[in-house]
Symmetry: none
Subunit: 123 residues, 4 copies
DNA sequence: GTGGTCTAGACCACG
DNA sequence: GTGGTCTAGACCACT
């Protein structure tokens, strides 16, 4: 479901948050789908349940999931809205980076090249 | 010369590093220019000299400045090379973000809009 | 594990860096092995934790170890690559010294003598 | 006569020491040759006379030059002895590096390759 | 005056 | 418990 990399400098709880959020926004987890319980996920990854707990709390704060007491955690049904917000964030980041690139002398055609669809990552 | 924002989640030393590196890469600080001494900059920002010291050490490691004991710190003369490398990094970041945006449903015209020149940035 | 010599003109943090890097490159510390915590090693050597912290930061920058907040520091798994690079560096140093020796009048047989295997080094 | 590089991390006085010692040991400056006065060299390099003073003191300590009060500084006539000592030092350094290279897995033919006479640095 | 190293002690985030 | 940042203050080497 989600991969955890111990060598990743990001804290573990953040990897869980990002992983689940990504699945939800991409549509791999649809609205009202139940996600694994805290203990279950902690077992699966052999990490501290507190860490999963924290990740779920953050996901709820972001509106990605909702908790139904005694029944479990479920994917929110406002995913479309979240996806739009997220796209705006990414757009802002790209705009900022583009301006910085220009300040360092990048040309317009260079910028266009960077956002072109890349092939299937040939090796 | 460089601004420090205490609400910025990045550590102070990193803000100093990024600020000076940016000035050097943009060409506002030219090769062999002397930059403020550790103590001087610490006074100016009312922060501990050790924090500036750490920032300068990182800048030297990156090849942005060189330090001469007893004389001060100076902008390196390999700035052009560093600028090219930095542009490549920014390009990679933009490409990654563009792919993610596509995965969330962004269209090509939306992507192009993000990298369009925004007004009011000319100096 | 590592020895610290106060009469060594090198700073302490550098002795720690070199010592641990050497152990890792020689294979005495294998990939993903956990190394002593900052505080632990500081206690062992009776030096300030900040000094160890600095050494570990440098080791991480060199790619010898990776740090995980709240969990500890671990030997990197790219050690083989680093070993090759290190060997190249040593080779360059030897070449430079050999040229200098020739400039001072050293003969070829003298040079060959210096790189002959010395006894009593096997472990 | 000697080059000074402000970007060299070595202190300036050490660059002067190394430069003059090298000239003497290589034979470019022969015994009892007079070298420039402190003030003269300080002027030439536009650096502090104290720095040259310190360099000359160190050179005298090493036995490379001798000072004749009121007459100036001269290259020592024990250069041959110094050259031998220096070669021994270089030999020791090479031996140490060779052992370290072996510890990292270098083979004997690799070691021999490093001390082979290099061509005239074709570019 | 300059940069560089080290100590002592505090606070924060993470697990 | 872990690593990471910051402050305050000291000492050294270099110019």
């Amino acid at each position: 479901m989600v991969k955890i990399d111990y060598r990743d400098p990001r804290p573990i709880y953040e990897q869980v948050v990002d992983g689940i959020e990504d699945l939800a926004l991409r549509g791999a987890l649809t609205a009202d789908t139940q996600i694994p319980s805290v203990r279950q996920l902690a077992m699966e990854f052999s990490i501290n349940p507190n860490t999963i707990q924290r990740a779920y709390a953050e996901l709820e704060r972001r509106g990605v999931i909702y908790a139904a007491k005694g029944r479990g955690n479920f994917i929110s049904d406002d995913i479309a809205l979240l996806r739009t917000r997220r796209l705006e964030e990414i757009g802002d980041e790209i705009s900022v980076l583009a301006e910085r690139a220009r300040a360092l002398g990048a040309g317009e055609e260079q910028l266009r090249g960077w956002i072109e669809r890349k092939g299937a990552d040939r090796i």
